[in-house]
Symmetry: C2
Subunit: 346 residues, 2 copies
């Protein structure tokens, strides 16, 4: 079958690889009908060390179940399913508490884990199928497919940032980063009742979309100027809730700088540094820093009705569609900020 393999920074290729198959009795095999390229895929696109074998890419998918292992009981052949970016057993104490990304059997697709491939491919093996996959009540070419696809990662991730940051009715919210996750963070903040939503970014197309999603203010400055602007917009004190959707130290420093005393930063951008900056400002402001890999599997049930009934349209962040052969150029387009997020139809 064909699959996306990254052999080093900037070197993405579509390769013929051995077919995905059932390995464990708890596995399912899905034929991928939709996948995406993720902002987090750009980190290896910048930094991955060259190797002969390469790394399979892709961790967001919708697909049709082609086969299941002997111990899979809930997921059936021919089900159309969302595949979250992490697999989880659905039964351990962490899954029961809705933190599937800390499952005792957790693993991540497209991460180079042995025996687990990537979703930017014709098919993918899904471990812990019963706990991981979520059956959709629509057909594989439903018009809502882009929005449903975001439940595999970016919409759930933006929602996680908002939940961790304590977004609620009447709150002021600042979203650091206008990528797909940041834009979904705007949707999540609006959905959770925020009164003010400040989007921080500088790409016209993304800002326009953020406004359609509910952003009330735009801050395009960076660093200390951005901090001053947000404080000015929030009565001088900063935002109650800050969604850090980037992952770089400068973004986190800004996030802490614009949080109101007693406020919270929800970080979902994969950190690119060993330490969290601005320890003292966070401490003296009693600002909480939380977040991590979003338990998107746990959030699907909450978010799905709003997608199915059209109240939220996170699929609009997917502004380009390619076939598998177009994936390498999709990486380039995202890296060049030509596309917000690329959908893949294998």
């Amino acid at each position: 079958m064909k699959a996306t393999v990254m052999f080093g920074a900037g070197d993405v290729r579509i390769e013929d690889v051995s077919d995905a198959m059932i390995v464990e009795p708890t596995d399912a095999l899905i034929r991928v009908t939709r996948a995406c390229i993720c902002g987090s895929d750009l980190h290896p696109y910048h930094q991955l060390e060259r190797s002969e074998t390469g790394t399979r890419m892709g961790h967001e998918a919708i697909g049709v179940v082609e086969d299941v292992g002997s111990k899979v009981t809930k997921i059936k052949k021919d089900d159309l399913v969302v595949m979250p970016f992490a697999y989880s057993d659905g039964t351990c104490e962490f899954c029961q508490k809705g933190l599937n990304t800390a499952c005792v059997h957790v693993g991540f697709f497209g991460s180079g884990m042995e025996g687990v491939g990537g979703a930017q491919a014709e098919a993918v093996r899904v471990p812990q199928a019963d706990g991981t996959l979520f059956k959709l009540p629509v057909g594989e070419d439903d018009a809502l497919m882009p929005s449903l696809l975001t439940l595999s990662d970016v919409m759930g991730t933006g929602h996680h940032a908002a939940v961790v940051a304590g977004v609620g009715p009447g709150k002021s919210v600042a979203v650091v980063g206008d990528g797909a996750v940041g834009l979904c963070g705007v949707i999540a903040a609006k959905r959770l009742g925020a009164e003010q939503i400040i989007i921080m970014g500088r790409h016209d197309d993304r800002i326009a979309l953020a406004k359609e999603f509910g952003a009330t203010d735009v801050v395009s400055e960076r660093g200390e100027e951005a901090v001053e602007r947000v404080r000015g917009l929030t009565g001088g004190f900063g935002a109650h809730s800050v969604l850090e959707c980037v992952g770089y130290a400068q973004a986190m420093e800004t996030a802490i700088g614009i949080a109101r005393p007693g406020g919270a930063v929800g970080r979902v951008g994969v950190p690119q540094d060993e330490t969290i900056p601005a320890s003292l400002p966070a401490f003296f402001g009693n600002v909480t820093v939380g977040g991590g890999p979003a338990p998107v599997r746990a959030y699907i049930e909450e978010l799905l009705p709003d997608v199915l009934e059209g109240r939220i349209e996170p699929g609009r962040v997917l502004d380009r569609t390619v076939g598998l052969d177009g994936v390498p150029d999709g990486y380039r387009a995202m890296d060049d900020r030509e596309a917000i997020k690329v959908m893949v139809r294998p």
Copy 2:
């Protein structure tokens, strides 16, 4: 009057200074009946740059009101009051939400702020008296005085760490640091219903007290060994709630390392570094890091009944008493770990 002045690292002296007095109409003047030396006073004791004028020391006190400014309405002459380490107006939006340490008029005693002295003195000027001071329903030599005195800082601070770390019934709690704040953190964790309380420290006298306060387990290892031990004591996953009561990077790294996925670290040790370590472990474990200067003023109402009725005895951390002249040796004794915390009777 006599007051404690630190002129440089290790150089603490009792000096004759000009009398404390009312400056603003919202001030009170209190005659200090009890003060303490704080673990955080040891930071300047190690690091303060030498100066001619020195810095007034002390931020925890109980005292008798000698005079009040013309705009003070709630606090009266002759009231016996607790003076929290920070002053606050009691009316701004942050005070109303119980975050007095973010008050728009906040200031800190014994911090070198112009015109505000320290509490290790015969008297102290208290700005924002109505918002800051809390009247006690006992006499100035009541036997509960040591425990009441801890409401000015360490008991409220330990409680804050526990609140921020989400301590509650059935939870496992680890307390990093066996100083006075850590010991009060044990009291707070027990009081909030924790099922397991692990004290991390290596001083026999403090550990013994921690056990009397409710600690169920002791971990004396440090670094990676400490992390392994705590995980072993908590089913392999770490503690739900971690109270970081030290402030050094190594302590914070340990705190994050022993937090269960989805858990929380409440930090109240004044950070001695610009960054928070272990960003990636915190992120991948969805561990929240919060805390800061405790709004002890807001906590007095909750904690006072338990002190008055003897259900908690935080005053036991005050294991040495000195007069003003004994303050310099009190610093030495705390720095040498001869005393846990020193009470001062001016």
